[in-house]
Subunit: 149 residues, 2 copies
Amino acid sequence: MVPENSQLERENHVGIILVTHADYGSALLRAAELIVGPISDCVSIHVDATLEVNDTVSRLNEAAELLNSGYGVLVLTDMFGGTPTNLSLALLRNNKKLDVITGVNLPMLLRVLSKRTVPLAELSELALKAGHEGIIAAGGVLKNKIDEK
Amino acid sequence: MVPENSQLERENHVGIILVTHADYGSALLRAAELIVGPISDCVSIHVDATLEVNDTVSRLNEAAELLNSGYGVLVLTDMFGGTPTNLSLALLRNNKKLDVITGVNLPMLLRVLSKRTVPLAELSELALKAGHEGIIAAGGVLKNKIDEK
């Protein structure tokens, strides 16, 4: 299915924006690039408390517009209730094809990057699932406790 | 309860080590510091593929020893199956009071930092819970879909 406003010269995939405190988003992106190689149509925006809120919202809106090739944009933020998430939610006013998911971690980002040609709602579900499934007691006291149950 | 090997001049809390690809761990720590202020007894170690595995394991072991004031150490890694996690699991051989949890995100780290005087097993459970609870469809297509259900 090709969306009505698809621009055929662009990639047929969902745009990704990481919105975080400090440079957490760009470092996460670098970690992902170490694993999967160069990543396109994915930007990281850090919310700088010294900038005016309107300036940040403008940057976010510009990024959302730039990255939406008709397939929508998925915004991954660091934590619910934080300024990066709150400002990202402001994007929903102008962008119907946009999702915001909080609590980004590396498994979530990697899944999103590997599946971004699926429709936005489906991609968001995959993101949630991968984020949750990636949180594991991998060893030690807690794992032994769980294994004993 | 004071552990047998407690060093009274040190903090009575669990040590935290972030082990990740690239500088993701240190950026996550900086994001947390922006929110909660300076953080003690918490280090970030990035796993550099150009270093010998043994060198990295030595660095991890030294950090675990340094940060364990008798209350144990919680290792938060980026993803299950990745080299940072695999090398962290090697620490379990020498450290009985050590937990490894994968898929670290900001809500998990913040919860751990705010609760690190509880026993290690309990802290690990809190970490898992906070990591999961922090992953939320905050707005957009998916949230509307969930709200409709």
